[in-house]
């Protein structure tokens, strides 16, 4: 961020020491816009590479210039929806991670780790099996995923409270248990259904962006955009919540109302993401953490930055997933989990002592 100049002069009246760099003192509009422009550029480059690369060689120029070409058909029919879906789901997961971390004051909180995505996946799987013969499952599945995700959120939050205090370690342990529980529930369902469903269930457990329809892309995009607007509107409240419930209350935040809103919004977002792409873990952990160390903790920048950064990260992960052993494919959830596992340990060792009191 050294390229972005401070937009205001110091106003301390000559008392300042030259030590601390001015740009990191606090977040200005200029700094926020600079960071977002940079992330936007990274996302554009990543997405372009992802559109150009794949198991079939494709020329972006031909595809854009010649509407009748095979390149165009592959680009618009296969790669574009896939890259878009990856970007949207990644954006949603990273924003949800950032918001949940602020709400529970724990840098290790994330939809996947807390078992909320697992709950959503179970809801989606159950809805798919129960309602598949009736059709119309593209509405029922996301709704059930949302319902189960919200239930998981509330249950995890309640169970992690010890004498009215949200204990960081208890929260993570409850998340571990929920993950195991939902995993087992999905396996149980898996063992009693026919072979056709078994494949879909595996897909939900590992996460993938294989062949989404434009219809699905549009629904998740709309829910993601709505969620983004609401979370951004609560960004300052999320900052204040970092100081604790009482402090936030003293600074004018209606803590319970904010918590309710964020829980519902993040559950809708996770439900939408899970219902189209299964369980993709750790995006919501890695991306906000990296952005915080780059740009500071202010959620007025962190939420939009997580949207762009999460999109770029997930598009890149999906690019690896479908090109590493082409023409065969890896599940993208496996890629993010392979990066995320060690990263989780790293953050735990780094931040554990300070933030979690380990």
């Amino acid at each position: 961020m050294s390229g972005v100049a401070p937009i205001r002069e110091r106003q301390g009246g000559g008392l300042d020491e030259a030590g601390a760099p001015e740009t990191h003192d606090y977040l200005t509009r200029g700094r926020a816009l600079g960071a977002l422009a940079m992330l936007g550029a990274i996302l554009l480059v990543t997405a372009s590479v992802a559109l150009a690369c794949g198991s079939v060689h494709l020329s972006l120029l031909t595809a854009l210039n010649d509407p009748a070409s095979a390149d165009r058909a592959i680009l618009m029919g296969v790669r574009m929806p896939r890259v878009l879906m990856g970007a949207i789901v990644g954006a949603v997961l990273a924003m949800v991670g950032a918001a949940l971390q602020a709400l529970v004051r724990n840098p290790l909180a994330e939809g996947g780790i807390l078992g909320i995505s697992g709950g959503g996946a179970f809801g989606a799987v159950l809805a798919m099996i129960l309602f598949s013969q009736f059709g119309g499952s593209d509405v029922v599945v996301p709704v059930c995923a949302f319902g189960a995700a919200l239930l998981s959120t509330l249950a995890v939050y309640r169970l992690a409270q010890v004498e009215g205090r949200l204990e960081p370690l208890t929260l993570l342990l409850v998340g571990v248990i929920f993950n195991a529980f939902w995993g087992a529930a999905i396996m149980l369902v898996n063992s009693v259904v026919n072979f056709y469903f078994t494949h879909s269930i595996l897909f939900w457990l590992m996460g993938s962006f294989e062949a989404p329809t434009w219809h699905e892309v549009a629904i998740v995009a709309a829910l993601g955009a709505g969620g983004f607007a609401i979370l951004l509107g609560r960004a300052r409240d999320l900052n204040l919540l970092s100081l604790g419930d009482d402090e936030a209350t003293h600074l004018g935040v209606e803590v319970d109302a904010v918590r309710r809103t964020v829980f519902i919004v993040t559950s809708v977002m996770i439900g939408a993401a899970v219902s189209v792409s299964g369980v993709i873990t750790f995006v919501g952990l890695i991306v906000p953490h990296m952005l915080r160390s780059l740009f500071g903790a202010d959620h007025r920048l962190l939420i939009p930055a997580a949207m762009l950064g999460g999109a770029a990260f997930t598009v890149a992960a999906d690019l690896i997933a479908r090109t590493a052993i082409a023409p065969a494919e890896l599940p993208v959830g496996a890629i993010t989990a392979l990066c995320g596992g060690p990263f989780f340990i790293y953050v735990l060792r780094q931040e554990g002592r300070r933030t979690l009191g380990l």
Binding site: Q11, E17, A20, Y26, L232, L243, T249, G296, R354
Partner: protein
């Protein structure tokens, strides 16, 4: 939005307008009448009545578990009282919405954990939040207030440091500066001197005495240090087991007899020849004096 809010929201007009609706210095800013509050089914504060007046510093003292912090939490609006009333500027506290309350009353808790690596300046700027809309960035005016608050607590050089990198005392001063940036009429401070060395204790109480005098701020602090209470407070509330055991000027509230009963140990109360304030020392179980 009601009338009082719009007055308080206008910067610059703060002092005059606030004084207009709260009355002259010495007027009661915050009043609790027969306040009872607690946790679960245990009452930690029983039927306490106090006034916090503009321009004065009120110290709340008492042994561990006497209910000092609970009283402060109830006064701040964070803890709903079981019974009794709290009035801010003669209006029940429950009638204020949170943001309006935050523009008039600042509270600093005993412990100040921060979850993420915000800088000291960012934490102080959070004090401006009740004055700003959800989407707005801080203006030059807000920044100036925050920088002045930092300077007042000797923190200018630390403005860009992450709050986690500061010592306990520095962090406490950052939170006091944040309270100041709120530009409140009432400040409630829970053990503000707990982690501070002698010089900074003196400075902090000096600052808040100054604010009480120049901005007609009403300041209530909980304290363990009886001598600090005697030296800096205009009035003292002495608490035991959740109830008031003494209330008034330091000489009235903290007599040797009262303190002996409240702390359950023998206490010497004299005068500090340097300041003329009360000097309070424990007597119980002394070492044999050297011959």
């Amino acid at each position: 939005m009601d009338g009082t809010e719009t007055i308080a929201a206008r910067p610059g007009a703060d002092n005059a307008a606030a004084r207009e609706c709260l009355g002259a210095p010495d007027a009661v800013a915050l009043r609790a009448i027969k306040l009872t509050a607690g946790y679960g089914n245990r009452a930690a504060v029983r039927e306490v009545s106090i006034d916090v007046r503009r321009g004065e510093l009120l110290a709340i003292v008492g042994p561990n578990g006497a209910g000092k912090s609970t009283l402060l939490r109830a006064l701040s609006g964070a803890l709903r009282p079981w019974s009794g009333t709290i009035e801010l500027a003669s209006r029940p506290l429950a009638e204020y919405d949170r943001r309006a309350l935050a523009r008039r009353m600042a509270t600093v808790a005993q412990e100040n954990p921060v979850a993420f690596r915000f800088t000291a300046l960012e934490v102080v700027l959070m004090g401006r939040a009740p004055h700003l809309g959800a989407w707005r960035f801080e203006s030059a005016h807000d920044l100036q207030i925050a920088r002045e608050a930092l300077a007042r607590f000797d923190l200018t050089a630390l403005a860009g440091r992450a709050i986690q990198e500061l010592s306990g005392g520095e962090r406490k001063r950052v939170f006091l500066a944040r309270a100041l940036a709120q530009e409140p009429e009432v400040a409630l401070l829970d053990e503000p001197s707990a982690f501070l060395d002698l010089r900074h204790v003196a400075e902090i109480f000096g600052r808040f005495r100054e604010l009480a005098a120049t901005r007609a701020m009403a300041v209530a602090v909980t304290l363990h240090d009886l001598n600090a209470a005697a030296l800096y407070a205009d009035r003292v509330l002495l608490m035991k087991d959740g109830a008031a055991a003494g209330y008034g000027r330091p000489e009235e509230a903290m007599t040797a007899e009262r303190l002996g009963a409240v702390y359950d140990t023998e206490v010497y109360v004299g005068r500090n020849p340097a300041t003329g304030a009360l000097a309070i020392l424990p007597i119980g179980a002394p070492r044999r004096p050297a011959v």
